[in-house]
Symmetry: C2
Subunit: 128 residues, 2 copies
DNA sequence: TAGCATCTATTACGATTGTAGGTGGATTAA
DNA sequence: TTAATCCACCTACAATCGTAATAGATGCTA
C-alpha cells in the first residue's frame, strides 16, 4: 500500500503530526479536545497501527517515550481520501458539487477561489 | 439512526434501487458489471443488512422472490456521505476544493455549474 | 410428478476500526 | 532509595464490512 487508507481517527492523529511536528503519544492524545478525548492506550493502538501501515515512524526517543513523525504527507493522504470519496459517487463530480452547494457547505467565496485556482493551474500547465 | 452510514457497496446497491425502481436481489446483482460482480449471496447479505438499517424494505413478492424498494432517498444518503467526508477534513472546505482541483477532478465547467447553482439558490432564498 | 433452477434463510470468517484494560519496566520526585 | 508516575507492549473485544457457502423451501418445466 503506497497510500494506505486512513480512517477518521487515524487522520486526526496524522493531523497532529502534520501540524505539530514529531510528537509523543501523550502529546498526540492531548491534541484531542478534552470532551470525548480517547484514552491514552486508544491513541497508542492507533499509532502502532499507523506504524504498521508505514504512515508514521518512530523518529527518536526522549526518556523512555518514543517520538513519532509522519511518513506520508497530508497532501497524499487527502488525495487518497478524495479519491475514495469520489468512488462512492461513481466518480461523477456533478452530484458531489450539487450536494455541497445545496447543503450550504460551499460558499460563493469558495467557488471564486476555486475558479482562481483553476485559472492559475491551467496557466501553469500551459507554461510548462 | 435516521440516516444510517452506507458503505460503498451498500451505496451501489441502493443506487440500483434509486435508478431502477423496486428490484429483486438477482436484478440488483446484475446491475454490477460482469467483471468483479459479487456473488448472489453477497448481494443478498448486504440487502439484508440494508433492511436492518431501514435503508430499504421488502415491497412485495413475485413468485417466491422478494422485491425490494429504497426507504431513504439518494439525496439523504449523499448528504450523509458528504457530511462524513467533510468531517474527515475537520469541516474545512478549502483543502477539499484545492484537492479536487489539483487532482483534476474539478473542471472549469464544474465550477461554472457550481456558480450558476449558487446564484440560483441564493435567488430562490431571497424570494422565499 | 419428478427434477432442475431459483430463492430464502442461516451461518461463518477474515479484515478493519474504535475502544481500552492489564502488566511490567523506566523515570522522576521526595 | 522508594514510591508515585509514566510509558511500552500485549491482549481483548464488539461492531461493521465484504465475502460467500450451505441447506432447505418453492416454483417452473417436461
Amino acid at each position: 500500500m503506497r497510500l494506505p487508507k486512513l480512517s477518521k481517527l487515524e487522520l486526526q492523529i496524522m493531523d497532529a503530526l502534520w501540524s505539530g511536528g514529531p510528537l509523543a503519544i501523550r502529546e498526540i492524545q492531548e491534541t484531542f479536545p478534552q470532551k470525548g478525548r480517547p484514552a491514552y492506550t486508544t491513541v497508542q493502538t492507533m499509532v502502532y497501527r499507523l506504524e504498521v501501515k508505514k504512515a508514521l515512524r518512530r523518529a527518536r526517543k526522549i526518556g523512555n517515550a518514543h517520538i513519532f513523525e509522519a511518513l506520508i504527507s497530508r497532501d497524499a493522504a487527502q488525495r487518497r481520501l478524495v479519491d475514495d470519496f469520489l468512488g462512492m459517487f461513481g466518480g461523477r463530480m456533478q452530484p458531489v458539487m450539487a450536494q455541497l452547494i445545496e447543503a450550504g457547505n460551499l460558499t460563493t467565496k469558495d467557488v471564486a477561489d476555486a475558479e482562481k485556482l483553476l485559472r492559475d493551474l491551467s496557466k501553469k500547465r500551459k507554461d510548462a
